[in-house]
Amino acid sequence: MTLPLRPRAEALAAPLPPLLADASKLARGVMLGEHGRKRPGMGDAFWQYRTAQPGDPARSIDWRRSARSDVHFVAEKEWQAAQSVVFWVDRGQSMQFTSDKNTPTKSDRAALLSLATAVLLVQAGERVGLTDMGMRPMRGEVQLGRVAERLMDRAEADYAVPDLSILPRHSRAVFVSDFMADPAPIEAALATAADRGVTGVLLQILDPSEEAFPFDGRTVFHSVGNSLEFETRKAGELRDRYLDRLARRKERLGAMADLTGWRFHTHHTNDSPSSALLWIYAALEGRA
C-alpha cells in the first residue's frame, strides 16, 4: 500500500525549501547584473533616444520626450539575451563524505553552491538546468524547484562520470565534483563541451581532511561506497606522496580547463560558501 500522494510529496519536498532558502540567502549577497549586449534591441533597460525615422511604428514613439521638442523621439531599449547555463553536479558516493560532524558533506556544499548560482542566474533572467535532467534549460522559479529536487538524487557509483545528455550549443556549463575519480571521462566531457562551443567552470569541492591527510598509524582506507580499499601500516608516511598526487591532479584539471577556455577552482567545505559563489558568478560573467 502506498501513502496518498500528498504526504509523499511533502516528505519529498521537505528538504527542498531549506536548500532553496539557503541558496537564495547565499545568492542575495551577490550584486546582480543583466547580461546587457551593449547595443539597442529587445530588452527592459533604457538604452538611448533617437529621432523617429519613417517606418517606426507610432507606438514606439516616446511622447514624453517628444513633447519637449519639435522632433519625435523613439526610446530604444538595450538588447538583452538570455543564456542557458547547465550544471553537472557530482552525486557519487564519494561526495557524501565529511571528516567532521561540524562541516557539511561535499555533496551538500555542491548542491548549495549550484542551486545558489542557479538562483542568481534565474534572477538575472537566464535559463538554468541540469545536464542529467532530461529537459532543456528553462527560466523561472518552477525550474529552480525542479533543479533543487534533482540535486537531492544520489548516485550508486562511488565516483560519478559526467553526463552530458543535455548540453545546448554555446551555452555555459558548471561542473561541480571532487574530481577524485579517473580524470579520463572528465577530459572527454570537456572535449565534447568544447566541441559544442560551451565554456564554463570546473569547481572542485574538497573536504579539509582530503587536503591535509591528517592520518597516522595502521589504517585501512576505503572509499565511501566500499568499492576501493587500501591498507597501510604507517599512514603518516604516505602523506607527502598523497599530497603530491593531489597537487598533480589539480594541475591536470587546471591545464585541461585552460586548454578548453574553462576556469578551474578548488573549494573546501570548511570555507565560507559565499566566496566560492562569488567566484562562480564572476567566472560565468567572464570577469574573474
Partner: protein, 935 residues
C-alpha cells in the same frame, strides 16, 4: 613474611607471577596494533603507493616496557609489599611498660600508645606477661601488676597523661618491692628528671631496657605578663636545634559570653635557642577578658597558660575632695595614685562619667556628701556588684553623713567628731594596728611595727559593728569596716588616704591591703608569704591534655601550698579566693625545660617516623597510571588521537590520570565548600541581596493566596517608588518569622487573617528586637469594608489584638493630621487602600509636643513610628500582576482610580517615612533657617 631489605611481602608467592613477564613480552611484541578502518574518498589517489618501511609492524619497545611496568606493578602490589615491617620481638619473661604520664607526653600521647601497642602485640603473639606502670600512678601495693598482653593493651589504652610532671624518685622505692627480673619498655616524656638516670640504671640491672622517646622538643608556655603596657608572652622548649615557629592564641569570652580567640601571636625559636618571646598590644577590655593562652595545635597542659589577676587590670575610679593646689603630698588621692597606677587602670573625673565607664572599684577619699542623683547612681552600681572603698578625712569627720541613721554608702554609723590620739593636744599615744582576725580578708598579712594612727573617725557602737570590722587598732577601735550591699560591698577605712592621720599610706601594708580588697592586682607570681592565711578554692582545673574542667567540689588549698610543686593535691588550674584569682600553671615564669639525660648505655629510640607503610596501594595506583598512559600512547600510535574527538578523548584520559595520581587533596578540597554551602547558602544570599538594596518584606501568613497578594502589592508599590522617587527597591521578600533574619528589612507588611497561627516566643523576641532596632511593622487587618459596622471588633481585629499582645508596642493613637506620614513625600489627608475611611493607628505623639510658633505642625521630633495598624487592605490596592496592571478593582470608575493613586501615595509616604525618619518633621525649622540664611 618474606623481607627484601626494608620491604616485606605479605603474600610472597604471588611474586612468582613475575616469571610470566618475558612470555608476555614476546606475545605482546608479536601482536601489532589493530588497523583503523577509515572512509576516505581520496583513496583513489592512494592506490599503488607502497609503505616505505617494509619491516613487519610491531608494538614499539617503549610501549611494551610501559605495559610490562604496569603488569609488574600490579603483581608487586597484590603481593602486599610493606615498607619498614615491624621487626619481630624476641625475648621472654615478663615485660614492664613504664609510662611517663606527665603533661610533656600529652602532645604525642596517641603516638606513644600506638608505639607501645605494637610492642605489646608482638608480646601477645609470644604469650609474654605484661605489666603497665604509669609513673605518676604507681601500683599502690607494690609488685608487678602482671597480666596477659591483651589485658595490658586495654590498660594502656585507658591511660591518660597527668597535668603535672613526673617524679621518678617514688618509682625507685617501688622497684625495691618488685622481685625477679624483667624487660622494660620505657615511654619517656623527654624531660630531664632528678632520678631518671638512677631509675634507668636500676631497671637495667633487672633486664633489658628499651627507651622510646619522640625526638621532637617539648614546648612549655610561660605565664603571660604585662610589661610596659604590652602583654609579654614567652615560651620555652627542651632542646633547640632547629628553628621553630609556634602560634599562641589568647582565648576568652567575648561580650556575649562565647569563648573565642581574642589575641594571637607567633613565637619564633631561633636556631639553638630555647626561649621565644613575643609582645602583643591589647586594649585593656580585651586583655581583661583573656582567660588563657595556648599553643595552637598542641594538646598539653604545658602549652596552656591560664590567666589570672596578674593579667587583669581593675578599673578604679578615684574621687577625692578638692585639695589645695600645690599641696600634692597632702592630696588625699596622692598615695592612692601611687599605689594603684602600676597595677590598675585609674580614672578620675566626675562620678557620673566614671560610673558610666563601669569601673570595678570606686574610691571616695574624704568625700562626705554626694549629690542625690550621684548617690542614687552609686548605690545602684554598688548593688550590682561594685566595690566602694571610702577613706575618712576631715570632711567626713565634720559632715552629718551617717550620724543619725546608717547611710547606705557607709558601712557603719559614725560618731560626731572622731578622735585624736598621740598628738600634742591629746592624751595617750598613737595607736598601732592589731593583728588581723582570722575572718578578715587581711588575715596573714604581717603588721609592721611603725604603722601608727593618730586620728580617725569613730564608729557608733552597735550590734553589727563587730561583724563589720575587718581590721582594728590594738585598743579594739575599728579601723576598717565593711558591709555588703546587695551584690556589692562598701568598705570604709577610718583614716585618711594621706599621711595626715596615720602612717598607713606610707607603709607596704597599704598596698597589700588594697590588693587583698581586690582593688589592685599583683604584677607577678604570688609569693608564699603574701598568700599566708588564705584559702583558695579551685574553680577550673587543667587535665593533662590542657583541657579545662570544672573543678567541682574540691577542698580548698592553703595559700602557701599554691606556690609549691604541682601534684595530685595541687593540680594546675584557676584558684579563687573571694574576688581574687590565682592561676597555677604547669610552666612557671622561671621553669626551664631540659631534655632527658640517659646513662650512656641507654639509647632512646623512636619508631614513630618509620612506621609500617603498606605500599600496595601506591603500586596499584602506579599500575593504573601506567595503563592510563598506555591508553593514550596506543591511541597516539594508531593515529586515533587526531581530530576533535581524539583530542577530547586524550584530555579526558589525562584528567583521569591526574585524578588517579592525586586523589587525596582533591577530595579534601571538594569537601570543604560543600559543607559551607549546605549550612546556610540560600538564606545568606537572600540576606546579602536585601542588604544591597532596599527590600520591602511581608510576613508569610501560611495562606498562599494572601501571601501572593502581599508580594504583588509590595511589588506594585516598589514599581511606583521606582518611578516616582529615588527609592529603588528590590523584589519584595516573604519572611518566615520563625527562621528568617528580619534586621535587614526596613518595613514588614503583616496582613492579619482570622486563623493565623501565633509566632513562637523566639519569633516574638526577634520581632521586639526588630522594632527596637528601628524596624516598622504595618499590620493590615484587611477588614475596612466591614469594620465600620456593628460595635464589636472584627475577627481579624481580635486576632490582631492577640497577635500583637506580646509585642513591645508603644501607646497608639489614630494618626493625627499633623503626623509626618501626611507629608513625608506627598501631602495626604487620608490613607485609603482598597477600602476607605477606617482610621489608621500609629505611635502616640509625646504629650509635651507643642506647636511651634507660626507653624501648622506640632514639633514632633521623635523617631519613626514602629508600628502602623489599619484595615484598608493596602496590598490589594497596590497589587499588580506580571503584566504590571492592577490585580484588584478599587472603588468605581475614575474615583476608584483616584483612590488607588492615593493608596500608592500613602505607600510612598510610608516607605519615605521609614527610610528618612523625622526628616520631614524637621522641616518645621526651615522657615527659621531660611530667615537666618537671608541675613
Amino acid at each position: 613474611m618474606f623481607t627484601l631489605g626494608p620491604i616485606g611481602f605479605v603474600t610472597p608467592w604471588l611474586l612468582a607471577a613475575l616469571i610470566t613477564l618475558p612470555v608476555l613480552w614476546l606475545i605482546l611484541r608479536a601482536i601489532p596494533p589493530a588497523p583503523i578502518r577509515r572512509a576516505f574518498p581520496g583513496v583513489a589517489l592512494l592506490l599503488g603507493l607502497e609503505d616505505e618501511d617494509s619491516e613487519a609492524d610491531r608494538t614499539p619497545w617503549w610501549l611494551l616496557l610501559l605495559r610490562m611496568l604496569a603488569v609488574a606493578a600490579m603483581i608487586l602490589g597484590f603481593a602486599g609489599p610493606i615498607l619498614n615491617p615491624e621487626p619481630v620481638e624476641t625475648g621472654s619473661g615478663p615485660l614492664v611498660v613504664m609510662v611517663d604520664d606527665s603533661f610533656a607526653a600529652a602532645p604525642d600521647w596517641r603516638a606513644r600508645l600506638d608505639a607501645a601497642d605494637r610492642r605489646l602485640e608482638a608480646a601477645a603473639s609470644t604469650g609474654r606477661r605484661v605489666a603497665v606502670v604509669a609513673l605518676n600512678d604507681l601500683p599502690a601495693d607494690g609488685g608487678l601488676p602482671l597480666r596477659s598482653a591483651a589485658d595490658a593493651q586495654a590498660r594502656l589504652d585507658g591511660l591518660l597523661p597527668k597535668a603535672w610532671p613526673v617524679n621518678h624518685a617514688p618509682a625507685l622505692d617501688w622497684l625495691d618491692t618488685v622481685e625477679g627480673g624483667f624487660d622494660t619498655l620505657w615511654l619517656s616524656d623527654g624531660l630531664s628528671g632528678d632520678s631518671r638516670a638512677a631509675l634507668a640504671r636500676a631497671l637495667q640491672s633487672r633486664g633489658g631496657l628499651t627507651v622510646m622517646e619522640p625526638p621532637a622538643p617539648r614546648i612549655g608556655l610561660q605565664p603571660a605578663r604585662i610589661a610596659d603596657g604590652m602583654v609579654r608572652i614567652s615560651a620555652t622548649r627542651s632542646s633547640g636545634e632547629a628553628p621553630q615557629d609556634i602560634e599562641v592564641t589568647g582565648q576568652g569570652p567575648d561580650p556575649a559570653g562565647v569563648e573565642r580567640e581574642l589575641a594571637r601571636a607567633t613565637l619564633t625559636f631561633e636556631q639553638g635557642a630555647t626561649e621565644a618571646v613575643a609582645e602583643v598590644s591589647l586594649p585593656p577590655e580585651l586583655r581583661n577578658r583573656i582567660a588563657r593562652f595556648e599553643v595552637e595545635g598542641m594538646r598539653s597542659a604545658g602549652t596552656v597558660s591560664l590567666a589570672d589577676d596578674t593579667l587583669r587590670r581593675r578599673k578604679v575610679a578615684l574621687l577625692g575632695g578638692d585639695s589645695e593646689e600645690g599641696l600634692e603630698l597632702l592630696s588625699p588621692l596622692h598615695y592612692l595614685r601611687e599605689a594603684l597606677v602600676p597595677t590598675a587602670d585609674v580614672m578620675e573625673g566626675t562620678l557620673s562619667d566614671m560610673i558610666a565607664a563601669s569601673p570595678d572599684v570606686v574610691i571616695l577619699a574624704d568625700v562626705a556628701a554626694l549629690a542625690p542623683t550621684d548617690k542614687e547612681m552609686l548605690e545602684e552600681w554598688v548593688a550590682e556588684g561594685g566595690l566602694l572603698l571610702r577613706f575618712a578625712g576631715p570632711r567626713l569627720a565634720a559632715a552629718d553623713t551617717g550620724r543619725t541613721e546608717e547611710d547606705p554608702l557607709l558601712p557603719v554609723r559614725l560618731r560626731v567628731g572622731g578622735r585624736d590620739v598621740g598628738g600634742a593636744m591629746s592624751w595617750g599615744e598613737a595607736r598601732a594596728l592589731a593583728p588581723f582576725p582570722e575572718d578578715s580578708p587581711f588575715y596573714g598579712l604581717a603588721v609592721p611595727e611603725d604603722v601608727e594612727v593618730t586620728s580617725q573617725v569613730l564608729a557608733e557602737p552597735g550590734p553589727q559593728l563587730s561583724d563589720r570590722t575587718i581590721a582594728a587598732l590594738v585598743d579594739g577601735t575599728p579601723l576598717v569596716t565593711r558591709k555588703t550591699l546587695a551584690d556589692g560591698q562598701v568598705v570604709l577605712i577610718h583614716v585618711s588616704a594621706n599621711a595626715e592621720w596615720s602612717t598607713l599610706p606610707l607603709s607596704g601594708l597599704f598596698v597589700q591591703m588594697l590588693e587583698r580588697l581586690a582593688v589592685s592586682t599583683r604584677t607577678g607570681a604570688p609569693e608564699a608569704g603574701e598568700l599566708e592565711g588564705t584559702t583558695w578554692v579551685p574553680e577550673t582545673l587543667l587535665d593533662g591534655f590542657g583541657a579545662l574542667d570544672d573543678a567541682g567540689e574540691r577542698p580548698g588549698v592553703a595559700g602557701e601550698r599554691l606556690t609549691g610543686t604541682l601534684g595530685p593535691d595541687l593540680p594546675p588550674g584557676l584558684y579563687a579566693d573571694e574576688d581574687r584569682r590565682v592561676a597555677v600553671n604547669v610552666i612557671g615564669e622561671d621553669t626551664v625545660l631540659r631534655p632527658a639525660q640517659w646513662p650512656a648505655s641507654v639509647v632512646p629510640e623512636w619508631q614513630g617516623a618509620r612506621e609500617e607503610t603498606d605500599l600496595s596501594g601506591w603500586l596499584l595506583m602506579l599500575a593504573l597510571a601506567a595503563l592510563a598512559i598506555d591508553v593514550i600512547a596506543s591511541l597516539f600510535l594508531s593515529g586515533r588521537l587526531t581530530g576533535a574527538r581524539g583530542k577530547a578523548a586524550a584530555s579526558a584520559a589525562l584528567i583521569g590520570v591526574a585524578l588517579l595520581i592525586a586523589p587525596q587533596p582533591a577530595q579534601a578540597q571538594d569537601a570543604t565548600p560543600e559543607t559551607t554551602t549546605q549550612d546556610g547558602g540560600k538564606s545568606d544570599a537572600a540576606l546579602l541581596a536585601a542588604t544591597a538594596e532596599v527590600t520591602l518584606a511581608y510576613v508569610r501568613t501560611g495562606d498562599p493566596a494572601l501571601d501572593d497578594v502581599s508580594a504583588a502589592g509590595l511589588l506594585g508599590l516598589g514599581q511606583q517608588l521606582f518611578s516616582r522617587t529615588s527609592v529603588e527597591p528590590e523584589v519584595p521578600v516573604g519572611v518566615d518569622l520563625e527562621t528568617d533574619e528580619l534586621a535587614v528589612y526596613p518595613l514588614l507588611y503583616w496582613p492579619v487573617t482570622e486563623d493565623q497561627p501565633a509566632p513562637s516566643s523566639e519569633a516574638y523576641a526577634k520581632l521586639n528586637a526588630y522594632l527596637r532596632g528601628g524596624g516598622m511593622i504595618v499590620f493590615d487587618t484587611r477588614d475596612g469594608d466591614v469594620a465600620g459596622f456593628g460595635s464589636g471588633a472584627t475577627p481579624e481585629g481580635s486576632r490582631l489584638r492577640s497577635l500583637a499582645r506580646p509585642l513591645d508596642i508603644p501607646p497608639l493613637e489614630p494618626i493625627p493630621n499633623d503626623h509626618v506620614l501626611t507629608r513625608a513625600f506627598y501631602l495626604l489627608s487620608d490613607f485609603p487602600g482598597r477600602y476607605f475611611g477606617q482610621s489608621v493607628w500609629v505611635e502616640a505623639s509625646p504629650p509635651d509636643a507643642e506647636r511651634a510658633e507660626g507653624m501648622p505642625f506640632r514639633n514632633l521630633n521623635d523617631g519613626v513610628t514602629p508600628i502602623l495598624i489599619g484595615g484598608n487592605d493596602w496590598a490589594s490596592a497596590w497589587a499588580v500582576n506580571e503584566n504590571g496592571s492592577p490585580m484588584f478593582p478599587v472603588g468605581r470608575g475614575f474615583a476608584g482610580e483616584r483612590q488607588r493613586e492615593i493608596a500608592y501615595r500613602f505607600g510612598v509616604n510610608l516607605v519615605m517615612h521609614v527610610l528618612t525618619g523625622n526628616y520631614k518633621s524637621d522641616q518645621v525649622h526651615v522657615p527659621a533657617l531660611l530667615e537666618r540664611l537671608g541675613q
